[in-house]
Symmetry: C2
């Protein structure tokens, strides 16, 4: 069960040297086209890159792509699960039942979804450096944020695009990424969860696999479907084994450039704490769902969501228990330090980070429960916190605000605040009581905030009072408070607003300490390390994932698992053979009804060696001609350690094969209009 | 949050050198009386040791002591919680309500409790060595078990006592421990859970503390209270700060002599796996308990039980994340290896263990879920497994049986089998469904056993069928199957019995592999390391805890927590000040009713630096004159790392002060007969 040598090599190299194998999450301005040409004989030119970039979409939580000139969008089922849940109720579940819009005017809007398309990347590293020149760590940390806010503000004024600052290479580079934003995104088609997530949590992150994890959305503008020249046609026959393929998308985050001290913090503190708390919440959710059919329906989406993350973090913890990984990190750090030994200004940034991480060990729990709201797990509380803070922050100058309340951030925040999303009081009671109880456990019953909140209450009774008393589940109430600003907040007697106000000062206090004592010295040290890395190893490296646009290359290929050579394709027939009749191994009635007409040899899923992580969900798998040959939705179990390093031997991505999408549209969902729009014969 | 130097010193020394500080869990035949004399001026002679030993009781799960000549037994409330639960029902909870027997004939029997008093310790190291001489690892492992079974059998025939073999120093010594067993143990008095476990899980393993964690039992023989000359009088005024005190009891298990490879296995595999699964079960229990008052009652005891272990294992994992601890282990191993470098027969037993542990990493999950029944968490399944195996094993020669079914073990097993203990179908459904689901998660849906069990069922539906169909909750049904032996088992159509039969072969197969490939080489190597340790460091060391009788020495003293010097005593008044009115910070009505009559200055809990672990619960804290000056019930949070090493600066034990016991008996419970029996003025 321990990783063997190839992984150890990769560990050391990922940290210091240009990437080997088909590794790397490359920015579009630094894609190693020559390497790809040399390795696969495939030419990726500027026109290809521009077209693929403009066809790629960033959703709020995933990747997607345009697949027709009428704004049709292909992404995963699990990427629209929260949209499906928000269109559901206690009595009906679009997650379970699926959805097909038979006409365009029957396509319902996803309340909070947006589709961003990257137009321009502007390097602003120099401008940021100028803003912090000569300042000490703490002042620099604040000045940097102000500078980024100002840059975004100026950019939005000048470009009329959405502008977001992006930190690459842990502070080695700063960019402004400029997006065309579509904020009217509607649901076109989603299969039933039973087939979309066939295998459920047991099969999650597994290959071989049989999950029909796709869905279709459509972008609208001014109430009409978006017209676009940039879209990716689907090659329904799919790729050949061994074929070179490309993944465009938005890998969420990785920690491959983190220092050993930072990884040890994850291993010792952050991951175990999270896993323990969320494993318990998983148990509470499951037991809650057994109470009634409606309970099962409303808990399905949040349960699926945390089960996925539990599996991810469990395997991340496993990865960090590979002592050789950490030893390799240490080696790489020593090597880089030795290479810079002649530079007196270099100091020892790794030791600086280790010291900051020691501070973080002590700040972690109060930060998590108060500022991170880990003690207040409730949609109503999140509304209250946002309302309270937005009111306070909007009264400040844009550059003086907390970064999540700048003018760039406000429109989306306002939309989320006003969106009519169902809030279930039973679930609110569950999550809020749970989190209050765990806050008392981890901070201790004698922590001042815990004492004040629970002096005459149990977590249960306090949660019940708060949930019963708050009106924030009503969007109209939220709108009144949002529009009313600080005066309305001060006048509100909503108990959740009062709670958010009551903990605001201690929460901000621990945030300030965290920013000054952890974030600031880490930022200063990481910038030094990034500069050292550029100096010693050049720029032929890729930055850690930041949920910004990247391009990977690789091939269609499976791997050797415990001596068994796996094939890179699965087929429909095996799904039927594995079905038990009970979730998560149940084939939906819609499929059973047409079983005899289905081609059981239809390819179902594909394995590739693409270097992907969470956030790449919904990414198109693209061939050398820019056609979609698969829809990425998962990685294998070994891919989870990709958060820390790339194991070329075993790290694999998993995609839905286009042929099974066509088979489903034709024979099961009979979605003829969609098929025509996709150009399927 | 990292341990500082004193701990590191202790790490290195615990593994190789005689104990420093007030460290050590000494066997009664090797107590360092001279050291105690030198350090505290206190004489502990043979008569003292014999008297204290014969006054000390091993319960099935805890320690206790005789406190009157009429067999009255003092132990913790949490040690009788399962007895209280077994005397409860859906409608009444003795755990919540407490219990007082106003007359001796009103003392109800605890269905499965026993009281063992150690009479003789016989060294059989030579006999065991003889039995395994010349055999290879695997054969030696089997021969050793046969020899221990034979020794126990001969001992019970000759002595008429209960004889149990004991492995000390990881195989460095073997003993027969001979006990006088009382198997009629009855309940005399238990406070309400609200005061006995005041502070609940949040305060568990915390000091300062206010938990009245005591209860009283009585041993009976031939239907009458046991008469004993060996009992410990209570010194109700309690000890002075700094006074030398002794803890007699049965520390359950420690891993201080484990090798680095074994500790890494715990850190990487066993602890995270357990914590994730049981955190989820905790969540399911809590949510289940919210369903109704009766649900809350029946889940209370199992929930308390796993919350306690979750806290223990969470802190154990924290301890193993102290990289310096593992580094110290490695250093100690290198030092001992170097000291033995001249001995060619010595080889490298640490490498042998590391190899075996690598095998264990692969066997762990199937062993856990199949043989360890981690996939079948159900009281009914445990009955079925025992019935199936006992029937098969009883048909074999005593020495050929699995060790848990030898003639020595059978009487207690039979008693547990036939005891009328309530089994709640709702809880059975919960735990069985949970464990089947997690077995499918961790072994994977394609594991042959999982496939076979869940081919046409969900974990829920299978659990429901099994629990609804089984009759094993009825003691009469169990008796018929127990008495009927193999023929009755073969003829049974009870679904739980059929399940236990169906998985018996794969479970035994993985057990055999584990015994041959992990247990055998580890036993051989550990024996070598133990011999080396004796050779280099002599016998002035203590063995790891094995739930056998030990004696510790120490003083009444608190510690410095984050710069704050704590006092070793708490007082009753503070409990009232901390009460919130809601569990687990609720003072029972019985106490509120007499509040004005209580002396708020009454000492409540005591901190000492005694080196104790789980299993010491219920241990008397004894002064130099052999009088009880406290009742041990917990350790502070730092004591949990005592599983791996003793941190003299911070590891503390927590005891109930005798004065609060007297105050409660006098003013709250008005238990005059008990007070007289205890000789309270």
């Amino acid at each position: 069960m321990r990783k063997v040598l190839p992984a150890l090599l990769a560990i050391a190299t990922a940290a210091v040297l240009p990437a080997l194998a088909d590794e790397g999450m490359w920015t579009f301005d630094n894609f190693p086209a020559a390497e790809v040409k040399a390795r696969y004989g495939v030419t990726i030119d500027g026109a290809w890159l521009d077209h693929v970039r403009r066809s790629t979409i960033r959703l709020s939580n995933c990747t997607a792509s345009f697949v027709s000139p009428d704004g049709l969008i292909l992404t995963n089922h699990h990427c629209v699960e929260s949209c499906l849940a928000s269109l559901s109720s206690k009595d009906t579940s679009l997650v379970q039942d699926g959805f097909i819009a038979r006409r365009r005017d029957a396509e319902p809007r996803c309340a909070t979804q947006v589709a961003d398309v990257l137009q321009v990347m502007e390097d602003v590293t120099g401008k940021v450096a100028q803003a912090v020149a000569g300042l000490d760590e703490t002042a620099a940390n604040e000045a940097r944020k102000r500078a980024l806010t100002q840059l975004e503000q100026d950019c939005e004024r000048d470009s009329k695009l959405k502008c977001e600052s992006v930190t690459l290479y842990q502070g080695g580079q700063y960019f402004l990424y400029k997006y065309k934003r579509y904020d009217d995104v509607r649901l076109v088609l989603a299969p039933e969860a039973d087939i979309a997530a066939f295998g459920g949590d047991p099969d999650n992150f597994q290959f071989p696999r049989w999950s029909l994890d796709y869905s279709l959305l459509r972008a609208y503008e001014n109430g009409k479907p978006v017209k676009t020249r940039d879209f990716l046609p689907i090659r329904f026959e799919g790729p050949a084994a061994g074929e070179a393929v490309f993944v465009t998308g938005h890998p969420g985050s990785t920690a491959r450039l983190d220092t050993r001290a930072e990884l040890e913090f994850q291993r010792d503190v952050a991951l175990p704490n999270w896993l323990l708390r969320y494993s318990e919440l998983r148990g509470r959710y499951i037991q809650f769902g057994k109470g009634s059919e409606s309970a099962a329906r409303i808990v399905e989406e949040p349960l699926n969501s945390i089960e996925n993350v539990i599996k991810v973090r469990r395997k991340q913890l496993d990865a960090l228990h590979e002592d050789a990984l950490l030893a390799g990190k240490g080696e790489a750090e020593r090597a880089l330090r030795a290479a810079l030994a002649g530079d007196p200004a270099f100091g020892d940034p790794w030791a600086d980070i280790a010291r900051a991480v020691d501070v973080e060990r002590n700040l972690y729990l109060p930060y998590l429960f108060l500022e991170g709201a880990g003690g207040f797990n409730s949609a109503n509380f999140r509304y209250a916190r946002t309302l309270v803070r937005a009111a306070a922050e909007r009264d400040k100058q844009n550059t003086a605000r907390l970064r999540e309340y700048t003018d760039t951030a406000l429109p989306r925040l306002e939309r989320q605040m006003l969106a009519p999303v169902p809030v279930y009081a039973e679930l609110e009671n569950l999550t809020l009581s749970f989190s209050l109880e765990r806050m008392r456990e981890w901070l201790g019953p004698d922590h001042p905030v815990v004492r004040e909140l629970l002096a005459a209450d149990s977590p249960d009774s306090l949660a019940t009072k708060l949930v019963a008393g708050t009106q924030l589940a009503d969007p109209a109430v939220r709108k009144r408070l949002w529009d009313g600003g600080a005066a309305a907040i001060a006048a509100s007697d909503d108990p959740m607003v009062r709670l958010a106000l009551a903990i605001d000062a201690p929460a901000r206090a621990v945030r300030k300490r965290y920013e000054d004592e952890v974030e600031a010295p880490v930022a200063a040290a990481a910038e030094k390390i990034a500069a050292a890395r550029f100096k010693v190893y050049g720029t032929n490296v890729y930055p850690d994932a930041t949920f910004t646009l990247r391009l990977n290359y690789g091939t269609v290929t499976a791997w050797n698992e415990g001596g068994v050579e796996l094939a890179p394709f699965t087929r429909l027939g095996t799904a039927f053979a594995r079905a038990t009749g009970a979730p998560p191994f149940r084939i939906p009635d819609s499929w059973l009804a047409v079983r005899d007409s289905l081609d059981m040899q239809t390819p179902f899923c594909i394995a590739t060696n693409s270097d992907i992580v969470g956030g790449n969900s919904g990414s198109p798998l693209v061939d050398a001609q820019g056609r979609i040959v698969g829809l990425l939705f998962d990685g294998n179990i070994h891919s989870i350690s990709g958060n820390y390093w790339f194991d070329a031997a075993k790290n694999r991505a998993i995609a839905v094969h286009p042929a099974i999408i066509r088979e489903s549209l034709r024979k099961v969902y009979r979605a003829d209009a969609v098929l025509r729009e996709l150009g399927a014969r």
